[in-house]
C-alpha cells in the first residue's frame, strides 16, 4: 500500500466528486476555488461585454436603462466579491502557501473547507437574485443609501450574499495568519519567508480587521429595508454619509486585499525569470505591511464630493498620496530585479511585465484622483472606471493569469502550449489597453459613469473601447482554451523545477505534489529565500 500511495499525487489519491467537495487537502480546496472563481469570472466578463455592447453607440442599443443598471451592479458584485477578493489568496495562496512554507497543510484544514462552502453559499445567494425576487439590485456594487433602502429590486439578498462572502474571506485570512506563525519549516524565520507569503500575511490581516465592519454595515442595510428604522434614510432622521463612511472603511482596505497578493505573485515571478535574487527583499516585505497599515486611513478619498469638512478632505488626500510611497518602492525594486538579470522570456514573465506597465498607469491615475482639485472634476466619471480597471484587471487580473501560467506545470504536472500562451498574452494586452485607455480620455472629457447613454461627442472613444472589449474577450478565450487543452494532453514527466530557475520550496517537490506535499525534507537556501548564490541542488530522484 505505502509504495503505490507514495507514487500517487494529490490529484490521483482519491476519486469521485465527494473526495473533492469534502476534501480537507489544501491543494484540492485551492482547485475547488479555482474552478468556482473561474466560472463566476466568466459570468462577470459576459456581463461586462454586454455593457460595452450597449455603449457602442449613443442611445439604446441592446438593453433598457434599468437593465443596464442591474447589469453593472451584477458585474461589480460578481467581479469584486466573487472573483477578485478571493482570487489569488484562495486559489494560489491555498495551494502554495503551505508548500512554500515547507509544510503539508494550513493550520485549520477543516476550517479551510468550510470557508469554500461558505463561499459557494454566498455565491449562490448572489446569483439567485438573477432568477428570484424582484430582479438583481440596481444600486451599483456600493449599495449606497438611501437608494439601496428604497429601490424595489432585490438588494436584501445581494447584501446578505456579500455578508456571507465576507465570512468566508475572514476565515481564509485567519487560517493563513496562524499557518504563517505556526507552520514554517524549521529554519525559516519570518525574514526568510518567500515574498508571496509576506504579501498574503499583510492581506490576511486586512481581511481580518476590515471585513467585520462591512458585515455589520450590510446587516444595517437589511434592517433598514425590513423595518425602516431610519439609520441611513435622511427623511426619517438617518445619515446617508455615515453609510458611505462605514462602507469605505472596509471597501478601501479591500482594494489592498485585491492588490497585495498580486504584488506577491510578481515578486515570485521576477526572480525566477531574471535568474537572480530579488532586489530589496526587506523593502518589498515591509512595504506590504505599510500599504496594509496606511490603507486603513484613506477611505475618505472616495467621498471628496459627498460632503466632508475641508481639513478632513485634506488629511485624507495626504494619506492617499502616502500610499504611493510603499507602492512605488515595490515597483522600483521589481524593475531593479530585472536589471542585469539573465532574463528568460516565458509566458508568466510576460504577464508580470504587463502587470508592471498597467499597474503603473493605474497607480498614477490614482494619484490624479487622490488630488482634491482634480477629483472634483473627475469624480464619478469614466476616468475612475478606467483607473480601477487598470489597477484591478490590468494589475491583479494579469498577476492571476501570470500565476496560472507559472504554476501550471506544478499544479497539474502537464504543460500548455507556450507559443499559444504568448500570442494570447499579446492579444489580451492589446485588448485590455484598447478597452480601458479610452475610458480615461472620455472621463477627462467629462463623461459620467453608470449611464447607459451618452452625448454624441463621446462616441469615438466609446466605440474604440467596445472594440477593445472584443479583442480582450478573444484573448481570454484563447488563453483559456490553451490552458484547458494543456490539461487534456497526455501526461508526461514534468521536472520538479520546471523553469530550472525556481528557488522557492514548491520547486523541490514532485510535479504534481504528493498528498502530503513533500517526499523528502525541503532544503532552504543559505541566505534567505532568493539566495541564487547558494541554490540547493534539486535531484529528480533519490539515489
Amino acid at each position: 500500500m505505502t509504495n503505490t500511495a507514495l507514487s500517487l499525487n494529490y490529484l490521483q489519491a482519491k476519486k469521485g466528486i465527494f473526495s473533492w467537495i469534502f476534501s480537507v487537502d489544501h491543494k484540492r480546496i485551492a482547485l475547488l476555488y479555482l474552478y468556482s472563481i473561474g466560472t463566476f469570472f466568466l459570468v462577470g466578463v459576459t456581463l461586462g461585454v454586454l455593457m460595452r455592447l450597449e455603449l457602442l453607440n449613443p442611445g439604446k442599443d441592446i438593453m433598457e436603462a434599468q437593465t443596464y443598471n442591474q447589469v453593472f451592479t451584477m458585474h461589480g458584485v460578481i467581479m469584486i466579491f466573487l472573483f477578485i477578493i478571493p482570487s489569488i489568496p484562495a486559489v494560489f495562496g491555498n495551494f502554495f502557501l503551505p508548500i512554500m512554507l515547507g509544510t503539508d497543510d494550513v493550520s485549520f484544514p477543516r476550517l479551510n473547507l468550510l470557508s469554500w462552502w461558505i463561499y459557494i453559499i454566498g455565491a449562490i445567494m448572489a446569483l439567485s437574485t438573477l432568477l428570484f425576487g424582484d430582479g438583481p439590485a440596481d444600486t451599483g456594487w456600493t449599495f449606497y443609501a438611501p437608494y439601496s433602502v428604497k429601490t424595489g429590486t432585490n438588494v436584501t439578498m445581494s447584501v446578505l450574499a456579500a455578508f456571507v462572502l465576507g465570512f468566508s474571506s475572514i476565515l481564509t485570512g485567519l487560517n493563513f495568519i496562524v499557518t504563517i506563525h505556526r507552520l514554517r519549516t524549521p529554519g525559516m524565520s519570518f525574514m526568510k519567508m518567500p515574498l508571496f507569503a509576506w504579501a498574503l500575511y499583510a492581506t490576511s490581516w486586512i481581511q481580518l480587521l476590515a471585513t467585520p465592519i462591512i458585515g455589520i454595515t450590510l446587516l444595517m442595510i437589511v434592517a433598514e429595508r425590513v423595518f425602516g428604522v431610519g439609520l441611513f434614510d435622511p427623511s426619517i432622521g438617518g445619515d446617508p454619509i455615515l453609510y458611505q463612511h462605514l462602507f469605505w472603511i472596509y471597501s478601501h482596505p479591500a482594494v489592498y486585499i485585491m492588490a497585495l497578493p498580486a504584488f506577491g505573485i510578481i515578486s515570485e515571478l521576477l526572480p525566477t525569470f531574471a535568474n537572480r535574487t530579488i532586489f530589496g527583499y526587506k523593502a518589498i516585505a515591509f512595504s506590504s505591511l505599510a500599504i496594509a497599515f496606511v490603507g486603513y486611513f484613506v477611505w475618505g478619498h472616495h467621498m471628496f464630493t459627498s460632503g466632508m469638512s475641508g481639513p478632513a478632505r485634506i488629511i485624507f488626500s495626504i494619506m492617499t498620496f502616502l500610499v504611493a510611497i510603499p507602492t512605488a518602492i515595490k515597483v522600483f525594486n521589481w524593475v531593479a530585479t530585472l536589471y542585469k538579470g539573465s532574463i528568460d522570456v516565458q509566458p508568466p514573465l510576460l504577464y508580470a511585465l504587463g502587470f508592471i506597465f498597467q499597474f503603473m498607469i493605474g497607480g498614477l491615475s490614482g494619484l490624479v484622483l487622490g488630488a482634491l482639485a482634480a477629483d472634483i472634476h473627475l469624480h464619478d466619471t469614466y476616468f475612475v472606471v478606467g483607473h480601477f480597471h487598470y489597477v484591478m484587471f490590468g494589475g491583479t487580473g494579469f498577476a492571476f493569469f501570470g500565476a496560472i501560467h507559472y504554476w501550471y506545470p506544478k499544479i497539474w504536472g502537464r504543460m500548455y502550449n507556450k507559443l499559444v500562451a504568448n500570442i494570447a498574452f499579446f492579444i489580451l494586452f492589446i485588448g485590455f489597453n484598447t478597452l480601458y485607455f479610452p475610458m480615461m480620455i472620455v472621463g477627462l472629457m467629462g463623461m459620467p459613469r453608470r449611464y447607459y447613454d451618452y452625448l454624441p461627442e463621446f462616441h469615438l472613444p466609446n466605440m474604440i473601447s467596445t472594440y477593445g472589449s472584443w479583442i480582450l474577450a478573444t484573448g481570454l478565450l484563447l488563453m483559456l482554451g490553451n490552458l484547458i487543452a494543456g490539461s487534456r494532453r497526455k501526461r508526461e514527466h514534468i521536472d520538479r523545477n520546471y523553469w530550472k530557475t525556481g528557488i522557492t520550496l514548491e520547486w523541490q517537490t514532485l510535479s504534481p505534489p504528493p498528498v502530503s506535499n513533500f517526499d523528502r525534507m525541503p532544503v532552504l537556501p543559505k541566505d534567505g529565500p532568493y539566495d541564487y548564490d547558494h541554490k540547493p541542488e534539486i535531484k529528480e530522484k533519490e539515489d
Binding site: T2, N3, A5, L6, L8, A13, H26, P98, G102, T103, D104, D105, V106, S107, F108, P109, L111, I170, L174, N175, I177, V178, T179, H181, R182, L183, R184, T185, P186, L208, L209, T211, P212, I213, G215, I216, T217, M220, A223, V226, F227, G228, V229, G230, L231, I236, G237, G238, D239, L242, L246, P514, V515, S516, N517, F518, D519, R520, M521
Partner: protein
Amino acid sequence: MEHTAGFSLPNSGHNRDAEASKMGMWLFLFTELLLFGGLFIVYMVYRSLNPEAFLLASFELDVTLGTFNTVVLLVSSMTIAMSITAIQKGNSKLSIQLLVVTLVAATVFLIVKYFEWSSKIHHGLFPGQELYASLPPGESLFFFLYFFMTGLHALHIIIGGIIIGVVVYRTRKGLISSEKYTLTENAGLYWHLVDLIWIYLFPLFYLIH
C-alpha cells in the same frame, strides 16, 4: 500522514497544536470586536447628533434588570474560568459542574432579556411597530440600536451556550482532559468576549445620563 511512508514533516498542519488553536480564537475574537465596533461607531455618531432624545429614550430601560443581568454574566465568566482551572488540574467532574453553572447563568440572562424585550415590544417600541414609527428620529434610533446590539449580543450568548454544551459533552466522553483542554480554553475565551461586550453595552444603554 500515512501516505508518505518513511517521511513525514515535523511541522504538519494535521498535528495537534494548542497554540495555533488559541491564536486562531484570538484572531476570531478580534473580528467579533470589530463587528460590534461598527455598531459602537453608529451609536456614537447618533448619540452625539441627538443627545437629548437618546437620554429620554434610555429612561425607558429598567436599570435593575440590567444590573442583575450584568452580575449574572460576570459570575458566569468567573465559573467558566474556574472550570478551566479544574480541568487543568485533572478534575473533569468539577469542570463539568462549573460549565453547567455557566450554562444556567446564560439561560437566566436570556430569560431576563426575554422579559425586557417583550415589555418593550408590548409598548410598541420594536422597529416597524406603530409607536416606534411615531417616535422622534433620535429616540427611534436609540431603540433600534438597543434591539440590534442586545439582539446580536443575545445571539452570541446562544452560540456561546452551544459551544459550552459541546465542551460538556466532550469532557464527559473523556475527549477533554488535563492533557488536552484547548477547547475548554477557547470556549472560555469566547465567553469572556460575550461578557466583555455586555460590559460596554450595559452603561451605553442603561447608565449614561
